[in-house]
Symmetry: C2
Subunit: 431 residues, 2 copies
């Protein structure tokens, strides 16, 4: 390497890339002291030079040709913050094959193509770092890679999507409807114009696949993660949850079982006393259960320009530090095998159900009989007083621990009843 | 190094050392895969061979001569878990000077002698790792050293003593008196027979000195940390705190100011909505405020055999991994200078005071006048109804933000009043 500085090429100068472009020159002295060498931004790719500009950042020569950034001989480390699968994937492949170290925030690329990219990086003896891909500024990838190295991780439970956590927090604190809370999140820049990736939970599925693969040492494919979003939740559910002593959160859960790995992202009811239940707004938290450390939790800002850029620059510093000392930066270790993921029907849980039912005698008996037939034991039933606007009665049922398969059969059979209850919401209760 | 295995010498086979002696052979295959080389416990020092034995651990040759463990040519990494200043300090010095890498859990030695030991390690090109010295199994040293490398840390607020947090949690949840809660903690093995290091807050002062030195890059001496323990707290204070919406915690706080660094450990009232207020029992948590990541929090078991051993083994793996790859393990960087610590009198805070006063007319007016004279603005006063057993009246005063110097003057002047109130408790309120 050049002994004077480390040349960095930046792919993407949007929210996160703008943060990187601001920090590298703005903190040059501090970073050089930590890295043992000057970190110099030598070239950047911007998608739309007219549009993407960033406050206070001194930008190096811009371009719209990603390959030119990657191929530039002055670039030794490629920072990819374009987001999305392409052209990011091709540019990362190209960089690794050219012997360049890569730092990325791209959860979709790492979740879908991590195993392939780790192998390419290993083959070419270069680093591929992705701390920023999960949990923004929260140290979590490094924690799994290094700090928990002696542990056998048994479970991860995480709030790893700030957009949905903001929406759910608004619904909980203000009794807001989903649509209003989403509109507010969009107005504040916390949600995209097309909010699908967040509210339908694609984003946290990518992140969970990354975390679970690291924690369990086997490749957890994102398409194998069971996924349910938050669109169907109602303000009524939040009112009931609060009165029952629970918070509603979109939780990403991965768990080792004797027969495989359970990986699922869906809304849950969490006892209000749990640390995860206190994680509000755009904050994220990752809870880990492991044989040695017991329960640990990592909490912080899971997104945003500077928190995410902090993780990226820390990754760059680790590479620079190794190079400055004459060492080879650590290459990623591809997973040894692909994890066997169990089906959602095989899990056990307690459940919360909210049903709309006609206000007729015998309704509860008919409904309870369906639960009984499927061996699901009811822990409590509440029938709140009806309001003039709503002639239908509402039933809130909490079950004891039951099988998901039994619950799905129950739900299907309920709709076949003469009294035709409508199942408005089903939530798993995560104790 | 030997290409077949890494030889580890263990100084101390007590609670933590027993965990290390159990994990190294018990997880040999997993650890070798992570480290790239077999980790072999080749020699151990036990203080009392008749007494100290550990469940399930296959112990290597024991001895009572620490120097023999350090000097053994088969020992490449010395793990020091004796605790206390001596002989640990001398043995660490001896190991570093002999070119051996050292992993320690010793907060007292690192807090008091870290700067000297880092310099010796650097001079001899060896590692000195101390993740286990603060927060047990919680990754926190590595987070400051690596993950937050691009940040400017402005504040740390931490619950880093499990014994006192257990006692305070019992006092809060059960209305227990300090003495009873302490006795319970001792019976459960959470507190020592002589609880001074914990309840008088020496232990968290060492830990805060370590964290602050890392976070701010200047040496924070432990004797410069303002220290107040928890002995004077009463069940009455917990009852008032709860009714006012606060939790009482022993908090370790370090903050950058224009004129120096504020470092203090004392009980505080924390708004119940804060994440730190939810940290109960023997759990620990470290909250960090920094320019890029904003607020982050690391939570987990701050003590105990296996959590602490987890941190030690992770440190050993980092050293082994570097050696196995033919690199030199990273040497610690001595602080560039000694921090200027500000005096406690210079801080600002809101305050809670509980006073016993004679039930006479004019008492409140006389007391309020003292606060006024010292420019301290009272936010609220409560005078709970008296009980038959207690003929004295009780006053609970909450102030607006005020100077510590003014508060100390107020307390001194109160005792000189004719109505002679007794100041039972003064707590700073940490928002």
């Amino acid at each position: 390497m050049s002994s004077r500085h480390l040349g960095i090429g930046l792919l993407g100068v949007g929210v996160v890339g703008g943060g990187v472009a601001q920090i590298l020159p703005g903190k040059a002295t501090q970073l050089a002291a930590r890295a043992g060498i000057e970190l110099r931004l030598v070239r950047a790719l911007v998608r739309d030079p007219a549009k993407e500009r960033t406050r206070g950042a001194t930008l190096p020569p811009l371009g719209t040709d990603g390959a030119a950034v990657v191929d530039d001989p002055a670039v030794q480390v490629v920072v990819e913050v374009l987001g999305g699968e392409q052209p990011a994937l091709d540019l990362i492949r190209r960089a690794l094959r050219a012997g360049k170290h890569v730092v990325t925030a791209n959860k979709e690329v790492i979740a879908k193509h991590g195993a392939e990219l780790f192998a390419i990086a290993q083959q070419h003896g270069v680093a591929l770092q992705f701390e920023a891909s999960v949990g923004g500024g929260i140290p979590v990838i490094a924690v799994f890679q290094h700090d928990l190295a002696a542990n056998w991780v048994s479970r991860i439970a995480a709030i790893i999507n700030g957009t949905t956590n903001y929406i759910l927090s608004r619904m909980a604190s203000e009794g807001a409807d989903f649509g209003d809370a989403l509109a507010d999140a969009q107005a504040l820049g916390y949600a995209e114009a097309d909010p699908t990736a967040d509210v339908d939970a694609y984003d946290p599925c990518y992140k969970l696949a990354i975390l679970a693969s690291l924690a369990f040492g086997e490749e957890v494919r994102p398409e194998g993660v069971h996924r349910e979003g938050i669109r169907s939740l109602s303000r009524r559910d939040f009112a009931f949850a609060r009165s029952l002593g629970y918070a509603i959160k979109l939780l990403a859960i991965a768990r080792r079982r004797a027969d495989g790995i359970e990986a699922r992202v869906h809304p849950v009811m969490l006892p209000a006393s749990k640390m995860l239940a206190k994680v509000d707004g755009v904050f994220n938290a990752i809870e880990v259960e492991a044989d040695l450390v017991g329960t640990a939790l990592l909490y912080g800002q899971g997104a945003g320009s500077l928190p995410t850029a902090s993780a990226i620059v820390a990754d760059v510093i680790a590479i620079a530090d190794a190079l400055a000392r004459g060492d080879r930066p650590r290459t990623p270790i591809p997973p040894s095998s692909r994890a066997r993921l169990v089906q959602i029907e095989s899990i056990d849980s307690r459940y919360y159900l909210r049903l709309s039912v006609p206000d007729k005698p015998g309704v509860l008996a008919a409904i309870a009989a369906v639960f009984g037939r499927n061996a699901i034991s009811i822990a409590s039933v509440q029938q709140p007083e009806q309001t003039p606007e709503d002639p239908e009665a509402e039933l809130v049922i909490m079950t004891h621990r039951a099988s998901e398969a039994g619950m799905q059969a129950t739900i299907a059979q309920l709709s076949g009843l003469d009294v035709s209850p409508r199942v408005q919401t089903v939530l798993r209760i995560e104790d």
